[in-house]
């Protein structure tokens, strides 16, 4: 039986458009952790872009009927329009190196013929520890234990 996708058709179109336009971004946060096997729950998919507001992002989003909304006094930057609801833009990644540096250790998850880059679990843990907000603190033991399980039993990880 085919694996159910967590993304709707429009969400998938948006992700594929970003990948087709070679936009440099990766999935971060708890959605990235759960993709790697951590038993955590999340409500959205956080995306970290190397250069927010670059032309290729706008072109990709326009192609699928979505758009980039720059930050304003009361709102963070966001994606809007078709397929954008699930995705949040992350602008601060406490405790991590530059985007290019983190890209070298990221995990790749295939989505059709494209590969989605996902922040490595040990780096998600580092980010949560550095952020140190109450909601981050709650997830730290779970991420740490997940990492222990994955490192001890690496043969169980499925890449599909």
């Amino acid at each position: 039986m085919a694996v159910p996708l967590p993304f709707s058709k429009s969400e998938l179109r948006l992700l594929r458009a970003l990948l087709r336009h070679k936009v440099r971004f990766m999935v971060v946060g708890l959605s990235a952790a759960t993709l790697q096997g951590a038993p955590v729950v999340t409500q959205d998919v956080d995306l970290w872009f190397e250069k927010l507001g670059e032309d290729s992002i706008s072109r990709a989003l326009m192609e699928v009927g979505a758009g980039y909304v720059p930050p304003s006094a009361h709102n963070p930057p966001m994606l809007a329009g078709a397929g954008a609801e699930l995705f949040d833009i992350v602008i601060r990644m406490d405790g991590l190196g530059a985007f290019a540096e983190e890209l070298t250790s990221c995990v790749e998850i295939p989505i059709g013929r494209y590969k989605l880059k996902v922040l490595a679990l040990h780096r998600i843990l580092a980010r949560k520890m550095a952020a140190n907000r109450p909601k981050d603190i709650l997830t730290i033991p779970v991420l740490r234990d997940a990492l222990a399980a994955i490192e001890t039993c690496p043969q169980r990880a499925k890449r599909r």
Binding site: P4, L5, L35, G37, A146, A148, C153, R156, K158, R160
Partner: protein, 69 residues
């Protein structure tokens, strides 16, 4: 959704549970401070493809948010 090997037959389920228990013990031997539940749930999730793991997480996350309201 993909069916676990453990659900195919009672004997298969027991074999799967024994293997899982052994793996949990292996992890706990190397990381004594780890929580057995976290370890067990991780090992179970690792048997699923990544996108299915995300699917489950989003479903449960949204359900939890609805119950909070």
């Amino acid at each position: 959704m993909k069916q676990h090997a453990r659900s195919k037959s009672p004997a298969g389920a027991q074999r799967w549970a024994r293997r899982l228990t052994a793996r949990v013990e292996k992890v706990l031997a190397a990381h004594p401070a780890a929580d057995p539940d976290n370890v067990r749930h991780t090992l179970i999730l690792l048997e699923q493809p990544p996108l299915e793991r995300l699917q489950r997480s989003l479903i449960r996350g949204r359900a939890a948010a609805i119950f909070k309201k």
